[in-house]
Symmetry: C2
Subunit: 337 residues, 2 copies
Amino acid sequence: MEPQLEQRPADWLALGADVGGTSTRILVAAADGTPVGRGVAGGGNPVSHPDTAAAALGQALTAALAGIDPARVRAAVVGVAGGSALSRPEVRAAFDRVWSETGVNCAPAYVSDLEIAFAAGTAEPDGTVLIAGTGAVAGAVQSRHLVHTSDGHGWLLGDDGSGFWLGREAARATLRTLDAGDPPGPLATSVLRALQVPDGPGASAQPPDPHWQRVRVIDALNSRPPVRLAELAPSVTTAYSVGDPQSLRIVDEAARLLFESVCRVRRHDEHTPIVLAGSVASEDSPVGVALRALVSEGLSGPTLSARDGVAGAAWLALTAAEANCATEEARNRLSSV
Amino acid sequence: MEPQLEQRPADWLALGADVGGTSTRILVAAADGTPVGRGVAGGGNPVSHPDTAAAALGQALTAALAGIDPARVRAAVVGVAGGSALSRPEVRAAFDRVWSETGVNCAPAYVSDLEIAFAAGTAEPDGTVLIAGTGAVAGAVQSRHLVHTSDGHGWLLGDDGSGFWLGREAARATLRTLDAGDPPGPLATSVLRALQVPDGPGASAQPPDPHWQRVRVIDALNSRPPVRLAELAPSVTTAYSVGDPQSLRIVDEAARLLFESVCRVRRHDEHTPIVLAGSVASEDSPVGVALRALVSEGLSGPTLSARDGVAGAAWLALTAAEANCATEEARNRLSSV
């Protein structure tokens, strides 16, 4: 037993978790950042469905810790989408319950998804971070802690420039086209196809009946959860790629709204990193490209992309376990795969 | 029996109905427009709750026809909010079922709420009509029939400039104020009061905690039906009256959006009447005032206000029963109360 105990200090592990609306991801890593375990499960809105979200966390933890002694985990950081979720006792209680069943001895630190996204993009302690996926939220980070946010108000009240916002604008542009009786352009065509709305009530409606289609679009979108409007965001990207004017306007406006959210949490004279995360803000997305142009024109400081929030969470756990483990090399190892 | 039968022709009645989201109203009138019966019941969204809406119609009909031989009704016009409701077989079936129980012999004509609002505002056959209440929709009317609409897409996708829109903008402005940590102005103060959000978690939180309040506002508005955001519209009016800059911007934008909806269904060279209906478009509302300024500046034709949709429905029923009953005097009698 004695030799094993002496080995322990070098043998400790750090655990990071990214609890999101669509997936829950776990990364367990050695002190140098080498990944030793991963787990993925479904997501869930921790605010509206704390038990579902907690169950997904449990499932992902079980997978990530398979064959690993949970007592080796020295520090754990759990990033949760939606800053407000953490302040709710029922969310915290549901998560704590799952955690106590893992056999991990250390208590997890619950942090915002903005903090893990920032850490996934840079090893610097201070800066600005934006997550634009289905939702959209910007934050100011100081000493790796979130000190200020902008937007992230949810689809009903905000998330301006998000995937939901893009999808809603796609639907709105389609309805305006149908109201006007104009022939559908690339965007409206893509939206009508995505919603499986035919040309008219008959089997071979010729010409298309815009009034009938308009009612079908409204009915289709109101008969499912509103957040699913985000599923129409790809229609904007598709139509943008062929130069559709409606989509060009929507993309520009989304980038402008996201840029405004960033500016609301950042001093103009700052030179710290700006970390962009989420599918809508990625370099592959037209909105991400337009946003980068606005950022490089209007702000100072390097613009970085965060690809994997769970790597940021694991890196923050390394940092918590032993400050001198928080190296750029460790971060690169965590992000590899 | 013979003398009674001979009296019948002069004795006929017309019936109008206004089936709305918040109330259902019936007006029964003599051939000269003199009201002889009224009924009011709750409302209901005919699309999402056809049975509730139909039950309210039945209740209002029973009240309006109390003490009246239903066989005397020669024509009936039922205006239903939301043009799409009428095209749905289940809505139509639920309404027909209720109708068959009234003892009224004639089949009702189901028309759009835009048609009855237009008829409530003018005896002219052609023109433009806007309803801006909880929702917002504009329409072009030809020969008293709706031929073209703009917006009316519902709170999720449109209703730009409506009461819902105003309430959502009030909430959005409040959240931006709280995000920035700025002291709440008249609008944010009114919204926080309406939502019963205190200054902070403690009994006497001093100073106020904007981050905590932000979470409370989001939670409060997401825990009830989205359409109830319209209940915050009065906060805009209140703050507008004391010159609040946020509310000035919101009112101007609402008026601009409603004006755009009107312009989408109206040729620039038209001189027909423009009928404005609904609480948001009324002369008493700041949006209604701003909208009238835009209309009188940008469009030709008289701007008229429709106060009572059910009077328009009853007048259309008079018209249907006997074309020469469709006089301005009859319309005035129907609208009096």
